[in-house]
């Protein structure tokens, strides 16, 4: 169905149709992020015992995911190489934190 792209449009025309959303959509995501911020601040005053950090970090991860997926357009990233770089970043961060904590959290003799 797509119209053939005119070559006159010049060789700088880059496909954008699938990478950006409407203004209203971005504002809606922003409102969701603000609601999550209010939620996480409010939940901090409720005593959930050991689950306070869990809930706070879960909400933070949801917020970060919304920003990465919809604002940073990783879904629209055309290059597989770029996706590999993004995934490797989080992979090595996970190694850094999980292996360091696996060490420090199991030093029962100290």
């Amino acid at each position: 169905m797509a119209e053939p792209k005119s070559n006159v449009e010049n060789d700088l025309a880059v496909e954008h149709e699938h990478t950006t959303h409407s203004e209203g959509f971005y504002i809606a995501i922003g409102v969701v992020l603000l609601i999550l911020t209010i939620t996480t601040a409010a939940v901090a005053f409720v005593n959930l015992g050991p689950f306070n950090p869990v809930v706070a970090l879960l909400i933070a991860t949801i917020k970060a995911s919304l920003v990465i997926i919809f604002f940073m357009h990783v879904k629209g990233a055309s290059e597989k190489l770029t996706s590999a770089v993004v995934v490797s970043g989080f992979f090595f961060l996970a190694i850094l934190i999980s292996l360091s904590l696996a060490d420090y959290m199991t030093r029962s003799w100290r």
Partner: protein, 227 residues
């Protein structure tokens, strides 16, 4: 003319605009990955010391101003929205709208820094800045039980607090300079619907700085409030 006429924004060593854009995007993401690892090291240090000195870290964390932190989180989220709207406006070739969004982004960034400044001022007044005049007499409020803590361990918390929020604030200052420059370029008509890669990549940087704050806020301000 030596060369075939083409759009001046397409550099000679790229086959086409898509390739040029992909190369720029790849380079930007590589940089962002180094940023993730840079801040990741500090997050990791924070988690390790929090486990080692839990009571002192909780007591020190309870001294942070949760409202200033929450307001700053909201300010950054709104600025991230103005950044994506700027990218959208650039894509549609709306020059004035693009400039407007970029200027609003800078203003929100400066708002963040001003609130941060007031927060730091409060820390100086309470002698919670690590160094010779550091003084910490507050106790860890464990659901009403007042537990005294070692001030040296609380000082460690504030060292990490200033290192992490300070590095984040430095990134915000750089971001404000970046977006200020882009606003001037946008006003001069430097960007077209065919070429606005700098706006997109600066936007990626801004969102990453936002994401770092999204994690700093709960880790520093929230998780010890009631636990």
């Amino acid at each position: 003319m030596e060369h075939e006429a083409h759009n001046p924004a397409l550099l000679h060593h790229f086959a086409d605009a898509q390739q040029q854009k992909n190369a720029a995007s790849l380079g930007m993401w590589l940089f962002l990955v180094t940023e993730i690892m840079f801040f990741g090291g500090m997050f990791c240090a924070y988690l390790i010391y929090r486990l080692a000195h839990f009571n002192a870290f909780a007591a020190a964390s309870q001294q942070l101003n949760i409202w200033m932190g929450a307001i700053n989180t909201a300010v950054l989220i709104v600025s991230s929205v103005t950044v994506v709207l700027a990218v959208k406006a650039a894509e549609q070739g709306k020059r004035k709208l693009l400039t407007g969004y970029l200027v609003v982004t800078v203003l929100l960034g400066l708002t963040f820094l001003v609130v941060k400044g007031f927060e730091y001022k409060e820390k100086f007044e309470k002698h919670h800045v690590p160094g010779a005049s550091f003084n910490f007499t507050e106790k860890f409020d464990d659901n009403g039980k007042q537990i005294p803590v070692n001030p040296k361990e609380a000082e460690l918390f504030f060292s990490l607090y200033f290192a992490m929020t300070g590095m984040h604030a430095l990134h915000m200052i750089i971001g404000c300079g970046l977006f200020g420059t882009l606003a001037v370029l946008a006003w001069k008509g430097h960007f077209t619907p065919g070429y606005f890669t700098p706006i997109e990549n600066a936007g990626l940087y801004w969102h990453l700085v936002d994401i770092i704050w999204i994690y700093l806020f709960p880790l520093l301000y929230l998780i010890s409030r009631h636990s």
